[in-house]
Symmetry: C2
Subunit: 213 residues, 2 copies
Amino acid sequence: MRLIKKNIDLEKPGKTAEKILVAARAVFAEKGYSGTHVDEIAECAGVNKATLYYQIGDKDTLYANVIHQVLGNTAQNIAEAVAKVDDPIEKLKAYVNCIAANADKNPELPPIMMREIAGGGATLPLVVIEDIASVITILIGILDKGKKQEIFTETNPFLIHMMIIGTILFYKGSVPIKDRQLWIPNDIKAHDKRLKGGLGDEVAQLVIKAIKR
Amino acid sequence: MRLIKKNIDLEKPGKTAEKILVAARAVFAEKGYSGTHVDEIAECAGVNKATLYYQIGDKDTLYANVIHQVLGNTAQNIAEAVAKVDDPIEKLKAYVNCIAANADKNPELPPIMMREIAGGGATLPLVVIEDIASVITILIGILDKGKKQEIFTETNPFLIHMMIIGTILFYKGSVPIKDRQLWIPNDIKAHDKRLKGGLGDEVAQLVIKAIKR
DNA sequence: GTATGGTTTAACCGTATGGTTAAATATTTC
DNA sequence: GAAATATTTAACCATACGGTTAAACCATAC
């Protein structure tokens, strides 16, 4: 677990710190923590490496800040969106759409989260794992309420959570690979293009159909 | 794209080469390509680093061999299993179960594939991407046949593929994190335990329900 | 114009890391 | 027992890389 050694005001970073964080997000997303070099982030940000250390700190500090920024208030957003509705189906829709919206807003999220999970969460900050736990607890509540109202069948909440985030993150994470393929039939390309913006809705619809009685 | 510089007989590796490949799979899975050091693999294998270079070659060669070994004949297995049945629902079940069975047989597969996709496939051998393309082409065929027979609704094949592998790989990839959590209610733990071995069936069932008319 | 904070320069340091090597040793094969 | 192959030893090399630093320069505020 990497500690945030320097408390950067993420709500109001200076211009230089913001440039560094933007560059760091992009490079960490593309290459992962170990595959990323500090020199590379500095070059991408258009600042000197010494500035990076002056403004933010070491690589661990930078990465922890990136994780914090990319995840944002995901857990809180999900909790608020789900609380606003009462019907379990609407709650599940809100849940899925929040996750998809956050991935839309932060394109670095899918690759970063995929690598973190691949690494067994060994380098995820504890607060992030707690956030994930709170999100899954929300889903457990939704599925339980839906089951009691005989809307949903009995399901494994972990599996459903992994289905939701797995679908969204894999779909978004594989876009660069897919966009390089030339063999894809045009009708499927067209169908895929229509999905833009509506990924959350589509995934929500599929998941709801999957667990409905 | 990493090239296999040395053609190791993967069907019949020597004892030492086998030890090295086993160690390499484990460490690459846990730490990723860049996070893994050659010394570490050698130590894990219980051989000298010079032996590793003698038997297999450089880090890229080793990694390419690991990818090849972990993926095995996944695409071919899927093609054969799907061809054995005629009903689109049974085809889809065979498709999902093959993917799940391969992940069962190769626990290193989820983390490695997650990282490769997170990296945009930049370091995946071309033959692997071609395998993935052929697998998705099989799914396109299944969904099309099912749609023509009015069993399945119209769906986005990429999204369905990502739903299938996303669910399986995320579920398996997050087991180390999940097993460390203490807040999980016992009934959910029990439900989760019952899933062991039946992940393919469960995911197939969910996906089929999701796309049925 | 001075003071202050931010940024760059241009190294530098210590450690790491992939990869190599010739000789020595060990193991296997015939 | 000799020959061939495998493995280890014990370095070594070149480059990389995270992180640091004091002085110089730049931008901004007063």
